[in-house]
């Protein structure tokens, strides 16, 4: 549901979103070295596969967004990764639109990147439970913010929709819970097996 199709958003919203998306992409690409390419491409693939595998939740079906996790592992490089994932989804599944790519990118990448930056200093190898609580919380909050962004963009394009959006946002809450649990367990796993994937280098240095 987080993918907005072509034709919903108004031109000013599209323009603003695209601009922000391009900005994020530029920041991400600037940080992308040759060595980062496999990892970034792989998370793009993870993002793509996660979103193509819907699982049923009560009467509806949802799929993981993984914005928080992607942001944790990649930082600003989450922008190029998610951009590629979105492009593939549009191409292969027809999820989302072509003109809305920039907007969708901001919706899904920005919350994760910012929240990951906030919680990253608190992730420590020697405090796994606390770290998992932080990342899980960040992942859940990222989903909620994504939902809010989608809602605001639609409301700005078509004010008549504004009241309907509360209903939509509520639909995201269960997903936020699932993402929190999954991200927390993945954090526990990575802290044991490959902490350098999510721990800031400085923190890692002091913890080991």
């Amino acid at each position: 549901m987080a993918h907005i199709p072509d034709g919903v958003l108004s031109l000013p919203v599209l323009a603003a979103g695209t601009l922000a998306g391009v900005g994020g992409l530029a920041l991400g690409i600037r940080r992308l070295t040759d060595r980062d390419i496999p990892r970034t491409a792989l998370l793009a693939a993870v993002f793509f596969i996660a979103s193509s595998q819907a699982f049923s939740l009560g009467p509806t079906s949802v799929h993981l967004l993984l914005g928080g996790l992607t942001g944790l592992v990649l930082g600003w490089k989450a922008f190029p990764a998610i951009f590629v994932g979105l492009l593939l989804q549009t191409l292969l599944f027809g999820f989302g639109g072509l003109t809305t790519l920039g907007v969708d990118l901001v919706n899904m990448a920005l919350p994760g990147v910012l929240l990951a930056a906030v919680v990253r200093p608190f992730i420590r190898v020697d405090r796994p439970a606390r770290s998992a609580a932080f990342t899980g919380g960040a992942a859940a909050l990222a989903v909620v913010i994504t939902a809010v962004l989608v809602g605001v963009e639609i409301a700005l394009s078509e004010p008549a929709f504004a009241p309907a959006l509360g209903v939509m946002a509520a639909a995201y809450l269960p997903l936020a819970g699932i993402e929190a649990a999954v991200t927390a367990f993945v954090t526990l796993y990575l802290l044991k097996v490959k902490p350098e994937m999510i721990v800031a280098p400085a923190v890692l240095g002091t913890a080991i």
Partner: protein, 237 residues
């Protein structure tokens, strides 16, 4: 006494090519069956079929006296048949050794503390207790192989399917594995390209060729042969 496993008329196609054709196979209690065959003969495919990971076009699988057709039947079967994969990396997925070995018992319905106890018992048997807290991902190739075996044994299977258990093992690990397997009172099917390993352990042999399974014997040429070790030059006599 009926056979533990009884496959008849199995035919399997993989991406269009007929890999197994009219394969019959029985495994009796206490048997250690060597499954020989060239690369690509279909040995892995046959093991996968037994646990229901491949669906035959034709044929019957009877295990522990029951016909096995659908996923439910095989789910039950897998609780009694342990499968060691050709690649251990595919098999280990919990972060630490003890968690990985306890995974099977947890699925069998053990409580967490019972599962840990069971896992520790198996690790002790295999002399692997020192690895208990290690991260599975950082083990060497040989250690991974043995831990994967522990994970399979922790489920206390009635039948073991071992797909090239000796791959990538150094000589010390190989000797250790051979001893462990020789002492296990469990029926097993052994796949390996190490004919010597097979001949040492197996009580019966079959050969897979052109999609057909036939009885085989280990044919031994008694002749002079070197047994080779590498020693640092200093140590050499």
């Amino acid at each position: 006494m009926t056979a533990l496993l009884d496959l008849s008329g199995i035919r399997i196609r993989r991406s269009g090519r007929l890999v197994l054709d009219q394969v019959d196979l029985q495994l009796e209690t206490g048997e250690r069956l060597a499954l020989a065959g060239a690369n690509g003969a279909g040995k892995t495919t046959l093991l996968r079929t037994i646990v229901g990971l491949e669906t035959p076009e034709a044929g019957e699988i009877i295990a522990f006296g029951r016909h096995r057709h659908d996923e439910d039947d095989f789910r039950d079967l897998r609780l009694r048949v342990g499968f060691l994969f050709q690649d251990s990396d595919d098999q280990l997925f919990a972060p630490t050794v003890i968690e990985d070995v306890a995974f099977g018992p947890l699925n069998l319905g053990f409580t967490p503390s019972q599962a840990i106890e069971r896992a520790q018992a198996v690790l002790t048997d295999l002399d692997l207790l020192p690895l208990e807290r290690r991260v599975t991902h950082h083990l060497s190739g040989g250690e991974k192989r043995l831990v994967a075996l522990a994970g399979v044994l922790a489920m206390d299977p009635d039948v073991l399917l071992l797909d090239e258990p000796t791959n990538a093992l150094d000589e010390a690990h190989l000797a250790r594995l051979t001893t462990i397997l020789a002492e296990l009172p469990v029926a097993m099917i052994l796949v390996s390209h190490d004919a010597h390993f097979l001949a040492t352990l197996s009580t019966r042999a079959v050969l897979l060729e052109n999609g057909r399974l036939m009885p085989a014997v280990a044919h031994r040429h008694q002749h002079r042969h070197d047994h080779v070790h590498f020693h640092p030059i200093e140590e050499t006599d």
